[in-house]
Symmetry: C2
Amino acid sequence: MNSFYLLALVSPAAERLRYILGEDDDPPNPTVFTEMDTLQHDGEEMEWKESARWIKFEEKVEEGGERWSKPHVSTLSLHSLFELRTCLQTGTVLLDLDGYSLPQIIGINLSQIEDGLLKPELREKISYVLLRKHRHQTKKPIHRSLADIGKSVSSNTSEFTRFSHAQSRSMNDITDTPSTDQLKNKFIKKIPKDAEASNVLVGEVDFLEKPFVAFVRLIQSTMLGGVTEVPVPTRFLFILLGPSGKAKSYNEIGRAIATLMVDDLFSDVAYKARDRDDLIAGIDEFLDEVIVLPPGEWDPNIRIEPPKKVPSAEKRKSVFSLNEAGQMNGTAGGAAGGSGGANGIAAPGTLLRVFPRFCGGLYLDIKRKLPWFPSDFYEGFHIQSISAILFIYLGCITNAITFGGLLGDATDNYQGVMESFLGTAMAGSLFCFFAGQPLIILSSTGPILIFEKLLFDFSKGNSIDYMEFRLWIGLHSALQCLVLVATDASFIIKYITRFTEEGFSTLISFIFIYDAIKKMIGAFKYYPINADFKADYVTMYKCECIAPDPGDASGEDAPWQQESSLLSTTLLHLNKRGKQFLDWTQLSKKECLKYGGSLVGKSCKFVPDLALMSFILFFGTYSMTVTLKKFKFSRYFPTKLRKLISDFSIFMSILMFVGLDVLFGLNTPKLQVPTDFKPTRLDRGWFVFPFGKNPWWIYLASALPALLVTILIFMDQQITAVIVNRKEHKLRKAAGYHLDLFWVGVLMAVCSFMGLPWYVAATVISIAHIDSLKMETETSAPGEQPQFLGVREQRVTGIIVFVLTGISVFLAPILKYIPMPVLYGVFLYMGVASLNGIQFWDRCKLFLMPAKHQPDYAFLRHVPLRRIHLFTLVQIICLAILWILKSTVAAIIFPVMILALILVRKMLDFIFSQHDLAWIDNIIPEREKKKEDDKKKKKKKGNKGEEESEDEVCPCSGGPRFPTPSVIKIPMEPVQSDPQNGIHCITSKYSA
Amino acid sequence: MNSFYLLALVSPAAERLRYILGEDDDPPNPTVFTEMDTLQHDGEEMEWKESARWIKFEEKVEEGGERWSKPHVSTLSLHSLFELRTCLQTGTVLLDLDGYSLPQIIGINLSQIEDGLLKPELREKISYVLLRKHRHQTKKPIHRSLADIGKSVSSNTSEFTRFSHAQSRSMNDITDTPSTDQLKNKFIKKIPKDAEASNVLVGEVDFLEKPFVAFVRLIQSTMLGGVTEVPVPTRFLFILLGPSGKAKSYNEIGRAIATLMVDDLFSDVAYKARDRDDLIAGIDEFLDEVIVLPPGEWDPNIRIEPPKKVPSAEKRKSVFSLNEAGQMNGTAGGAAGGSGGANGIAAPGTLLRVFPRFCGGLYLDIKRKLPWFPSDFYEGFHIQSISAILFIYLGCITNAITFGGLLGDATDNYQGVMESFLGTAMAGSLFCFFAGQPLIILSSTGPILIFEKLLFDFSKGNSIDYMEFRLWIGLHSALQCLVLVATDASFIIKYITRFTEEGFSTLISFIFIYDAIKKMIGAFKYYPINADFKADYVTMYKCECIAPDPGDASGEDAPWQQESSLLSTTLLHLNKRGKQFLDWTQLSKKECLKYGGSLVGKSCKFVPDLALMSFILFFGTYSMTVTLKKFKFSRYFPTKLRKLISDFSIFMSILMFVGLDVLFGLNTPKLQVPTDFKPTRLDRGWFVFPFGKNPWWIYLASALPALLVTILIFMDQQITAVIVNRKEHKLRKAAGYHLDLFWVGVLMAVCSFMGLPWYVAATVISIAHIDSLKMETETSAPGEQPQFLGVREQRVTGIIVFVLTGISVFLAPILKYIPMPVLYGVFLYMGVASLNGIQFWDRCKLFLMPAKHQPDYAFLRHVPLRRIHLFTLVQIICLAILWILKSTVAAIIFPVMILALILVRKMLDFIFSQHDLAWIDNIIPEREKKKEDDKKKKKKKGNKGEEESEDEVCPCSGGPRFPTPSVIKIPMEPVQSDPQNGIHCITSKYSA
């Protein structure tokens, strides 16, 4: 009881590794590709057969299936690791052997063993076995199978023939040039170019009485002919031959060394090891870090799919390379968290300090964006851009038509669909060309529409010339925007936290969804369905045009007579008295009503089929888009095809349902773009003259309404910019808030002069733009999960979208085939898709989930559920209030309400602790956070020891960080520690 | 180099365990529930706070979240396990302590330690610490959070108040009665009744300089008051108190012992251990079986969800309890596989031997089924039955109506809808009451329909009385069936393998799907859509009834005049000459055509809206059913509610779309059941007299067509029975092929006498019946996956379904609200759902998947992909041929074609090896298989050692079996082994 234990303060293994891995200056070691071959006996014949391979994860040859298994995490048995350790302790270890071919290497190898241990005849036999040919698992095309049928009628012998056909044999162990089989192997694409191979050969032979083990590192990697399935030079060789009867165990040992060889840390050790003990230390270190699953809770037969993310090798290695061992424990976690949390460039906090210089922000924005300018173009040429362009283009023209129509109604066609198209095209393309954040898509927005409506009514009521008045407001507002730019006022958005940002974008998404559904339901009002229709009584349904009572029209000419010249002659007849009369029954509904007729009949107010067809088109487009988008995650078809289908899902759905619509030939409402390039109202031109129509004081007074417009524009623009520049999008080229606002201001002035609508960033379409440009890594090692890399940041898609919008006038013949319900379906999809990844929305869903089924969100581990619910509830209430406001005339101050949201959020500081808010609302920008983290840690250190490393996870990175290298494992205090605290070294057990 | 290593042949640990676990007679040990409490310091105050608990998997208290984590697999570090080992080696171990309260136990515990090792003042302090109160993590309702807001305005102090409110404190460590908190804890439901608790207490204190460790087993489990969160008596106590600064490490050790305590094997060891060394041996054994994940391939922070299945504890234990250690390795796997592969009763092979006795099979069937008869009724009372009844009832009446209509057409209404209803009700309910397999649902089938049609045409052409002729055919056929029963002819289905069975059921499913879609498309023909309709020209659309040319009718009365008495007077007018004339414009379409009028107008041949509405109802019902069915796996709502929604998905979808249909009020085609109980044709009664209408030789000659009917019936019936009795369904009550056929024969005779259609098992509806009655385990331990238990085998659902069918005549007022398209949607769902779980269908899907994305099916690991594809291709070709046959008149010999399928399958024996077929086609029945397995193993043993245990997986169980306890781990040879093979014992390292 006296020799007390618990926790060695430093292990000799770690000490050793620190020594050999300590020098940081070396170039990084090449990636190791490991192939394991096992010895097969076919009667007297022997050959080496590939049984598994590793790049990062394990792929096993399915014996019966003659195929590669899915890449999976290597689950080892503890036993095999210990046995491997013993093997390396007792077997031959040759480091830096100068070998050029397999026979030579084996020769040197065998000669190293003392004579007493290996009889000469065994030596020869071992050499013979090791030089047997290698057979690799290569894929054969399926069409072989049909040819095979004939051959394999008698099952037993044919079975073998088939086997040997399906797999390539390489006989040339001695040649150094790669065989054709090796060169043809497409697997080479998955291996990094600088990779080196490590070959593991295990097998049982009957002539040995005790195992023969050798670990060889060549001084230079060498092609060993057909030993490896791909032409990758071999650097390491592990050989284990043993007496019969233990094949499974040899296999497991082989898997253990193979897994070790692809371990980032151990492969470093293997490259740098000076002697056997360094390798042993590497294994010990590996053992110290392994994760153990209890046998009763996990079935070892389950192959574990590679995780989304694995602990970075750098972190594991860093333990050994840092010199200030004492400080290590405190800071390693913090540093790693910082690097994991994306580059801080995109975070508003760092970009939007108030610069003391006039136009300082603008200057810095330009300075920052200018170097990216060329790449903004050449990076746009990618197939993904095409799908993005089609998607956003359709969104934009639908928007342009919708808002154009509404604006036309509101302003008595002073601004109509044509103006909307022209304005969108001009403003959008200029913005995408010059702005700071070209991923933002400009569009008309609701508040602007309401403002225009109020302005027009006011002008009309007070006999002010609307266009001139509007021009002045626009000019004032543009000026105010430029003042805001010059004074770097955009810093205010520093106060926009996740609370505000997500509230805003959720609201906009809801408006999108609501509008799409409202329009769809509108179709049922537009095209009423006759519910009482009975097929048998089809004879009862008609709608006749009845001539107006002739008595009424006695005095003067009937309406039709006034326009009789316009009527076609087929409709006009002369009656007996020689007087013209109209054939009322031949009139269409419109004409009939126009000329004073009345419609009588049961079918007059009904339109068959169109409502239901519209619904099918609407819902079909939406659900097909959703389904195809998910297709990326299905098992069918090769990855590339699936990705293509997923990228073009919207386009394909639109095509599909346009096709369906054409097939049915129903007269559904279609997309109609103007076909002539002229102002909607004939009495206005393309330029508004600023003077002459209104009294002079109007020019000054318009500064007041302009202020409202400015706030409106500013809030709408900047909050969308914040959303677009979200950290989650991993933008490299940073934001340009000042530059964006500058261009919005300039465009405002231009649009005012041309009498076009004003434009500002459109949240949902911008998010859709970003979503359609997301990049992922092409998976390299089999089994590695694709990582989200960022967004294709470029100006090409935006510019082309708006140029297309401009020339839509000429595309009208094509566009007229697109039914509106299909586009509403696209809008619905946009709205729903933009809700994805919004934490607020995720939190809303939590209300419906029992605690035990909730996903493992980081914030759920750290903030009590009821606090999260409370926070969500506050947000929901805020949104509800905003929604109500939006539905009234108060909508005009809607963007101003965002300011109110910021205030509400400030008040939440009193209700929620900073800790909770840090998790739910990401309050603290990266840098400041790190400082606080450090402070916290220092405070904690002495106090509560049992706080776990999880608690030190950086909330800003949005997910759990990898834990700091556990304090137990590699404590960096000096070896001569307090004898009472740690005498007995546990890890020393391994070296027993 | 002389002392050679590799693989200890027996470890002392295993030897020890075999000794203590060897006696098999003891009652099984209770389940262990483990709770881990850690010591918390609140300034001067100390208390024990629950930090994790285990039933089978780990649940952790999320510190910040104040909630339980999801149950997950405990991932331990190897380090902590070794440290735990050292702890047990050096700490106090008290086995069979007679304790009744915590203070007393602690007292005894401390007194056991020698005085030199623990100073008296420390003793007191430890005792003080250990008696601190325990705080448990209990759930608090969410509504608290709102009340909390007020309290927690100032964040720092309030944070603590909140904390203490949300968690219950139990102050009563000393009382033995459970506290109210304990009693209120609903978690107790998850713990088995006989469970005993093991309490793990870890913490750091400042007064200790070296850790204090104690492991206590009480002689009898005792309630220790508030120590455990639930009132479960404590049996084990593990205490670890150590000096400050190592809390995380103590925690990990606590987790390690907790995980060990819930391990089936170790808990046995803990119960039976005689001394410290037994415990150590238990740990060593555990270590020997752990699964190791490499640190570079897995992130230890990921919580691993509990697997679907874990290795059974029995298997792991069996190693230690069997006495014939030598034979062990060879047979353990086979035995386990046999028990895993469901009870062999349901396999056709065992039931269908040719019994030498007359009626032997029938006798055995009755003998086997009779004991289950009472339970067949009381087991039917379950909520799930309601959903099954509704589902199958709707399927049955739709089927009855469809087939009734078709039969009526085919037989000139000698058998119509009414006969179909009556026959279905009678035959179905009798069959469900008395048959061997009451899960089978009887129905008319396609081949019978075609036979009736041919028979009727033949009778008509040759002036034979159809009903009498049919009666005799039925009687002959019934007799032939009984002969087949008496001679045990059902043994033939032994030759029906998966190939045939799945081919048949896939075909039937396709027919279902095809029919459903065909009927849907039919709606577009029934209700043509007017594609050219333009709303503006509504005035142009009408359909007028034009009177026939009066010239034609001059000679005789026009058709309307002949029936003028039937016409309502509103339509008849007197013209000037006093002659009746008809107001043609007021006639309906039917009347118009009937009286010789002609329909003129653009809208005559169109029916608006109905086709599209039908489509929406059809597709909506189908997709909503699919969605709701999947809802069981969503995260929303509590498990029970989700299960209910999933069970009633079809009913809810039908309700929903019936509601939608009612809402729209459109005149969609509705389900119309006959409302009067009388034969469809007035000239027939409910009994067919056997003599008098046909010549006598017909009575004998009808034996020939009867033979065809018999084959038809026999094949259809028995293959469906094979499908229903599939091993995957895990039926307990076994099949009754002979008894089934007996009743089919009897019912055939009865139906023939009553002039009702003949009935035979309906594949798709029977599968649907089984699917709707599937049982799963109610999950007990948190995290354990529900296991498929079997099917609710009873007669109640079937009987009620058919009784309901019988009284549908009275349910007509309700049923008439159900639109037919909704029912077609249900049919589509049935067809698609019955494809699920068919291996053939899974194999078809493989064609579209790149190899690397294919699911990990067992057969894929063992059979080359191209062989699988070839097999699938043969099946597809067979099905295609059958499909073509089915579409022609040859359909009548369709069931006979199944025999051809069996032949094709026999021929495949020449193309495929038996190994491949064993995997793809499950050829070998359970028992024979096992023998062959054994043979194979013996053959292999000497030969290829490196075949892996996976290869010995039993293909019949349909999935990978758990591997045999690895040969390396616990070889059962005597301890005195060949010294050259194993000198150095690896596991002995643990005991260093």
